[in-house]
């Protein structure tokens, strides 16, 4: 039968149209805006100039916040990886009938608004929050511990938002590993730890890297946890974009910062694709 090359495109056309109109076109607008000028009244003046980009690199203020964002993102990735691998491995190994229920627990946070989840930390970590209240009540401390409005609180807020992404990516990767491989290794004299280190861990790396990439990219673009849980000095690049666009109506400069962040993330994703293959993410997600 003659192949119809247009058929896949026809099937894909609704998705492609949506992606084009809701992603590509807005990004193009942002890029165009980044070359415009802003009038003192807040009006935008069409232009083609690189002043907004020059302003970003004119002194260390904006680059430092960008670097801080990357540092916080890397810390979040590392902690999510440590905290995510263990439950993912547990789901892979367990034969418990409760496994589906436990998997639902991982997904449960998605059922609650991200803002509500972030705000709830105030009642847990605050000076009069649950932890300080209990510690003070039982005389373990005399003044409340400063657990809120600092970088630790921001990272905690990011972890509770992003951990499910890491767990699910790793789990899907682990789930694709044939368990008989480790059994064979153990029958040949490997210890359980050696079998994990030599077989399971390397084979799960695609899921690990996919999870790391997703967590990293999402952290770089988020602004709610720093806004709600952060203190002075915990600003991330997305907060700056928010302020430029919303606070000062400086859409051109806000767009320029967005484009710089976008380029940075594109470079990272490109590098990842070069060495790991972006299809690992799709493979992991499609197996889910």
């Amino acid at each position: 039968m003659k192949e119809k090359p247009w058929k896949p495109w026809l099937l894909l056309s609704p998705s492609l149209t949506a992606v084009f109109l809701l992603l590509i076109v807005p990004v193009c607008f942002v890029v165009v805006y980044s070359f415009w000028l802003r009038a003192p009244s807040g009006m935008d003046i069409p232009a083609f100039q690189f002043g907004n980009y020059a302003k970003f690199f004119a002194d260390s203020f904006y680059p430092v916040i960008l670097l801080n964002t990357i540092r916080v993102a890397l810390e979040t990735v590392f902690l999510c990886l440590i905290m995510g691998y263990i439950p993912a491995y547990f789901f892979y190994r367990t034969e418990s009938r409760l496994k589906p229920f436990l998997m639902i627990l991982v997904m449960l946070p998605f059922w609650i608004s991200f803002i509500i989840r972030t705000l709830s930390w105030i009642n847990i970590l605050g000076d009069s929050g649950l932890i300080n209240h209990l510690l003070l009540k039982y005389g373990m401390i005399t003044t409340p511990l400063p657990m809120l409005y600092n970088e630790g609180a921001v990272i905690m807020g990011l972890i509770q938002y992003l951990l499910p992404f890491m767990i699910l990516n790793i789990y899907v990767s682990l789930d694709g590993i044939d368990k008989s491989l480790t059994e064979a290794a153990q029958s040949l004299g490997c210890t359980e730890w050696q079998a994990f280190r030599e077989i399971t861990l390397p084979l799960s790396l695609p899921g690990v890297s996919a999870g790391c990439l997703l967590v990293f990219v999402l952290t770089c673009g988020t602004y709610l946890p720093p806004m709600i849980l952060g203190g002075p000095g915990n600003e991330m690049i997305a907060n700056l974009i928010f302020k430029r666009v919303i606070g000062t109506l400086d859409w051109p400069f806000g767009s320029a910062i967005s484009v710089i962040l976008l380029l940075l993330l594109v470079i990272i994703v490109y590098t990842y694709n070069r060495y790991m293959g972006i299809n690992q993410i799709f493979k992991s997600l499609s197996k889910g």
Binding site: M43, I122, M227, G231, P232, G233, K243, G247, T248, L249
Partner: protein, 386 residues
Amino acid sequence: MGEDLKKRLDDVYENYRNGNITRRDFVKFAGIAGAALGLAGGPFGLINKAFASKSITCHSWGGTTSEALRKFAFDPFTKATGIEVIDAAFTGMDAFLTQVKASYPPGGEFNIAHLSAVYDYARYTDLGFGVVLDESKIPNLKNVMTKMTDTLRGITNGTLSAVPYDLGQTGIAYNTNDISKEKAEELGASLLYDKSLKGKLGSWGGDFRTNMWYAALHTGQSPNNITDVDAVWDALTEQRSMMKKYWASGSELMSLLANGEISATVAWSGRVAALQDQGHPIGYLAPDGTYSWMEYMYVLKGTDLEVAQKLLNFMLAPEASIAVAQGQKYPPALDPTKVEMPEDVKKLPAFDPTGKLNGYLFADPAYWNKHQLEWAEKWDRIMAGA
């Protein structure tokens, strides 16, 4: 709208034929117009038309403010006229201005906004989002304090695009368990710079003006004419090292004060009054030069003026205006020498029994808007610790 669009298309076509615009621009405009007509004239247009004369949208601050407006102004208005008032809340004035700016045509989707401070009246007007109200259709405007209407008229060449509705202050709130009234009154604006409060101070991160205003008072300068701006930045940099949290919304402000997270902060008078009503140990300090502001109902371009004027007149009726004031804890814009005020309204912070507002210091819109971009960025840098 169809007629208006047709006229614009005719104009553009004529310009194209005369060679005043390029073919590309003509096609671009025709495309946009077609899309707009499709949305406005198709099924969406039918819905629009069905509701156009029967509803009007009013954006306000949410929480107790919107609740008071809904209960004492909008619902009774709907009951009396059959016109529905869609009660919407914005996350902040800057965010709302962004939405208005992003709408097409600018301002078209939005009707009335409960805005604060005169500099925003100027900003919305400068951006072309204003209208000219027919004051003969708003007879209750005669009860409003003259100084408030005159201030707005000064910006819009003697006309009004808004009616003043209430007034308030950004004073200083302090926890009376941590700070005595005597100490607060002695220090005045400098309470916000008291080193003994390190780690227990808060401020509004979203507004450079408020922070500069109190830094100016702290450094002995007039907020509307800062002569030594470096001293202001130095004071704010020093204050940052003592800051626990730059809050972003009224509800966050109330949460921080109510939970004892912070001991002192700049604060909106109505929010403090609400906390005091709830029994929290919060004091309110209005030092010399306290930042006063007026709030007004701004009518945006594209709104059905007949409906808007009818609603504004209803809202300014003493019974509605006073009830809203009691609900939201901000004194009304009505002149107390013309309209008798109940005792609880007289006790609200920022209430002026003379109706003349002498001694109230408002932000000079020309001065603050002139420096807005430069100072907002500098403020961001200070907050971030640069």
